[in-house]
Symmetry: C2
Subunit: 344 residues, 2 copies
Amino acid sequence: MHKATIDDVAELAGVSIKTVSRVVNQEPNVRDSTRARVEKAIAKLNYRPNRSARNLASQRSHLIGLIYDDPSAYEIPSAGYVIRMQLGVLRACRAADYELLIHPCNYRAKRIGGELQALIEHARPIGIILAAPLSNMPRIVSAIEATGTPFVRLSPGKRGGKQYTVATNDREVSAQMTRYLASLGHKRIAFIKGHPSHKAVANRYLGYLDGLKQSGLTFSKRLVGDGENSFESGEAAGNRLLRLKRRPTAIFAANDDMAAGVIRAADLLGVKIPDQVSVAGCDDIALARQLCPTLTTIRQPLATMAERAALLLIEVAQKTIPGQLSEVVPATLQIRESTGPAPE
Amino acid sequence: MHKATIDDVAELAGVSIKTVSRVVNQEPNVRDSTRARVEKAIAKLNYRPNRSARNLASQRSHLIGLIYDDPSAYEIPSAGYVIRMQLGVLRACRAADYELLIHPCNYRAKRIGGELQALIEHARPIGIILAAPLSNMPRIVSAIEATGTPFVRLSPGKRGGKQYTVATNDREVSAQMTRYLASLGHKRIAFIKGHPSHKAVANRYLGYLDGLKQSGLTFSKRLVGDGENSFESGEAAGNRLLRLKRRPTAIFAANDDMAAGVIRAADLLGVKIPDQVSVAGCDDIALARQLCPTLTTIRQPLATMAERAALLLIEVAQKTIPGQLSEVVPATLQIRESTGPAPE
DNA sequence: GTGAAAGCGCTAACAC
DNA sequence: GTGTTAGCGCTTTCAC
């Protein structure tokens, strides 16, 4: 049960190994009849090119690196994000016969830049996909840039300049959520910001402002809470907002973890959702469907974003000049139980 | 900035490439002084062996395959499991300079056996780690077995026979949880089973029975609910149990998702946790810490289990006969807010 | 203890 | 269109 090599295929098809190589790599200059003969031989022998030999000879790997913040390092349930990104990259990899190299890391580590550089120089991937929030950290970005390896930043909401970026229309969809809340009759719509280092936050907040304006509502500074992405910070911010004399009738949080915190805060204060206050989040984490009530939120198309990023890198590796440096994959509202008509 | 090769090292150290190879691969028959000289050269040139060349020449990969049920295919938040397993395997890989090949798959697919075989024959990993519940599915196990590739089953609670298995002491720790509930004064302790295909369930249930016996409590069939691992099935089972005339004062579910369902059911019925009923789960998913109240549960040492599995495969690949076929990594109780003293 | 030589299975020039 | 010839950077005999 010896594994077939390119020589076996060449012999069976009665051609040289170079011709087999041409067929396998979809190169031109092969007569159709020859190509067919080779393909038959490949099928008959169940031939699969040896990865190591191919990489060694061609001096390049078929590896795509996916770098993300290690979700197990914290108490936040961002595992679902990572899984969805991996899934998207794997889809692209399978189609193009590439491999995925995953690298969860802790951005707080001192030597993180060197760690990433060592990884890249050792594994030599054709490109790197950098997930948020790492994609917005100058230290990390410049460390990767220094290796000269092409990289795509996965940035919720922000389009890159001269660098490759795959983003969502975060700002637009946040405005859409705000208008949706306004359309339910809410006049006092609060917003809870996330961690300042997470760029998407800024965009979501801008979207919130856009939405207020588009709905003809006035902005109030007191209705803006400061969170830092965590459940606890959402709970704290929610607590403050829900104790205001003129309580908001809707609270829109920059992520689901914080929205979940708001729900807990409301629960403890005896404020009914959505009867007395509507709550909306952002990200559509698994938790959103399991909260009581289930959470209205914004679904980031993470798998698709990651897939597009991988395809972009593959294009770059194949020297096909990519059509554009940055791409936007639209997000969508997920309306669930936590939002409803404004109380009287 | 050309990457150093084994020839560069050999030249700098004034030895042959074979000697460098010996040093790199920790082989014997190298004089200490020679070894030191080579190591110095390696450090100076920042030499890293070329993976592809090594794999090609040695005719074996340095890949470890991790196969698991694709969590994004369902609505259950098992993403955290996957992340923790990946983390564990990556720890082992980094230490031994191996690579991780991840393969989420859908066990319901018709051609799943062929898919896995094609994957294995194509990538040729030195071994496979098979996560639950796939590790308990005969179709899957026999498909992998047929490839002849060594594999370790990650099985919560069940030790393998002649096959490699890394398990937890699921039964023992479930008994421990039951005794813990009994020690709080609970006399009517209910249990919600999980999906029958998931072997761990059987063990957890047996542990529950053990715990009852050890605590001198009598078993009642009516206090056993049938779930199928999902939040919804837990909610349904919880609903039934909480409406019983002689309501249980504690409910122990075979996983956290179902326990979360029970909490929701209690919430909707107006039953207070833990004042009127205590709830305990199993797995310690991220959600457990975010529920209101936070969930008492059992933490599976998944990362450690996966790491041990990877080390086992590496030992097998290196022909070091592994000390044992199956290994048990102990789990621990996580006591939180959802359990408390039994009501009067 | 150490080294020379022969591949591993493929791609990349460059012939023809 | 197709084949020939060198390598890619290592490991593996087998000498010495």
